[in-house]
Amino acid sequence: MIPVTDHLPILVVMIPVITAYITPLVGILLKRTVKGIAVVALSVNLACSLLLAHYVLINGPISYHLSGVPPPLGIEFVADHLGAVLSLLISAITLIAIIYLSATIPELGKKKTSIFYTLILLAVGGMQGIVLTNDLFNLFVLIEILAIAMYGLVAIRGDGKSLLAGYKYLLIGSAGSALILIGTGFLFISTGTLNMTLMGDILPDIINSWTVLGGFALLIAGLSTKIGLFPLHIWMPDAYAHAPSITPVISTLALKAGLVALIRLIYVIFGPSLSAETVPLPSVLSLLGAVAIIICSIVALQQADIRRMLAYSTGANIGCIVLGISFATSAGLEGAMLHMITHTVSKVCLFIAADAMLIQAGIRRIEDFRGLADEMPYTMAGFSLGAISIIGIPLSGGFMSKIYVANAAIGIGLLIYAGVILFWTLLTALYFFRIFRFAYFEPSHREHRLHETPWPSILIILILGGASILLGFFVEVPMEMIRPAAGILLGGGI
């Protein structure tokens, strides 16, 4: 008999997926319980993730063989420290997002509500699978599950603009999936296996083969569309601006799941054989990351729509995480993982606050923020806390993670990238201070006084805002998981 704790990796993935399939059935039979079921399923999922993280922290990584067939033939799930901490982040944030969603007024019709929850749960299952799987083809399938759910979530409102944004996302995303599929084929035919750890063992002997290098390049390019790395980020602003409220939140997490796949690709599959002579990966990816940071920040400065601005800010942050990953040192990897966590918490806080303002007051453009601190003080306070962390004002969560990445850049002598991060902080401050000026120092031009958001939303926004600041003070809590994660990854996976 296998102890129950060993089943946690599959439970974390299958609970959201099976609930996703049950939800439309429930939606037809008992219309009112859909939200309840989604909240219960995600709570159970959060409990499983917590147990998993606790177990992994104490006993080390778990390897789970689907249908009992061991790795060379069967599909393997591995819950290492990276997977466990990201799984915990995904469950926690989606639970908060679902609670926020069910506390606010439904903006979609009754018919679409159950489909909406189905898609969210399916996306959660896909993300959990991506962070936990150790099989390259399984990774492709899970990325597609996540992507299909995301396309649906972007376009579910069904008006013209959201459909167009969804179609754009679909075309770019499917092209990326096709690249991932070819790359998987190249690596599969070179190594004869799909298990990432085994591939990592075989690849050092054949790393100079053009097939392997081509597969690597195709996989990196395909994953770049999924994580929105700079030249391929163009789907993000449209998708975020026209999708319903919760989609940007789920998408922020989906980008992180894609980044985990990128980390595994670079460190687990190619880690042992990666060196500057064969693959000039650090220089290429660092350059892409730095360019993403600068250009996305400059474009964000010009946006008038708050959600577009946040989307470009996400693009810049993805650049920072890729920069940390590309250094191939434990300091850089730790900084990248910490930045994944702090950026997710703060950006989700910003998106939820922006959505609360949109629902309550119809605020969409940055000029509409005039006098908002007067009329919606708590929502604006939560927004400001999240913004402080995104800017990286000292002692907030975002500051700590940026410092880690910048330190890593200095550690390997690439001072220019530390300078890029400093410049980026100034640019971010510039576009958020514009909002602060409107909100705190300018009078409102509205005829009616706005009402404050209902208290459940305020509570959620303030919790997220507080968490994004407190992460800076209690940075050791996530670091306790991240340090062994970086150690394992630099050692080439388990």
């Binding site: 083809f137 492709f140 399938v141 597609e144 992507a147 299909i148 396309y151 649906g152 376009a155 069904g158 008006d159 013209g160 603009k161 459909l163 167009l164 944004a165 969804g166 179609y167 754009k168 679909l170 075309l171 499917s174 092209a175 999936s177 096709a178 599929l181 070819i182 084929g185 599969f188 035919i189 799909l194 449209d238 026209h242």
Partner: protein
């Protein structure tokens, strides 16, 4: 073996077919203005990938990897690698889902705007 050796080029004709199909698909995806035609280009790319995978697993004269009733011949049997075919089955399912989704989007977009011209539609965004 040299890359320019005619035997090398002709011997790998299955890969050349895949590459040509992928290029046709890429051209369709980029150059065509119609949203559905763009997606057809993507479908051509994906079909080319299926072809590529299946030709990876196949052997000249190989049979399906099913054990015959009398186990004696099993040792000398040449059989095709079943894993790429199984993988492609999953990939076909995935592509089917994405295609269905894209066509539904296209139908709804056409109903809203009365056109599928990408140039005009992207101005609306």
């Amino acid at each position: 073996m040299s890359v320019l050796d005619p035997a090398f080029i002709l011997g790998h004709y299955n890969y050349w077919v895949s590459i040509i199909l992928i290029m046709i698909g890429l051209y369709t995806l980029i150059a065509k203005k119609n949203l559905i035609k763009k997606f057809i280009g993507l479908n051509i790319i994906e079909t080319a990938i299926f072809l590529f995978y299946i030709s990876l697993g196949d052997i000249d004269g190989g049979v399906g990897p099913i054990l015959p009733k009398e186990g004696a011949v099993a040792d000398t049997m040449i059989y095709a690698n079943p894993l790429p075919s199984a993988m492609m089955l999953t990939a076909i399912v995935v592509t089917l889902c994405v295609t269905a989704l894209a066509l539904s989007f296209a139908v709804l977009i056409y109903r809203r705007y009365g056109t599928l011209d990408a140039g005009r539609l992207m101005e609306e965004l």
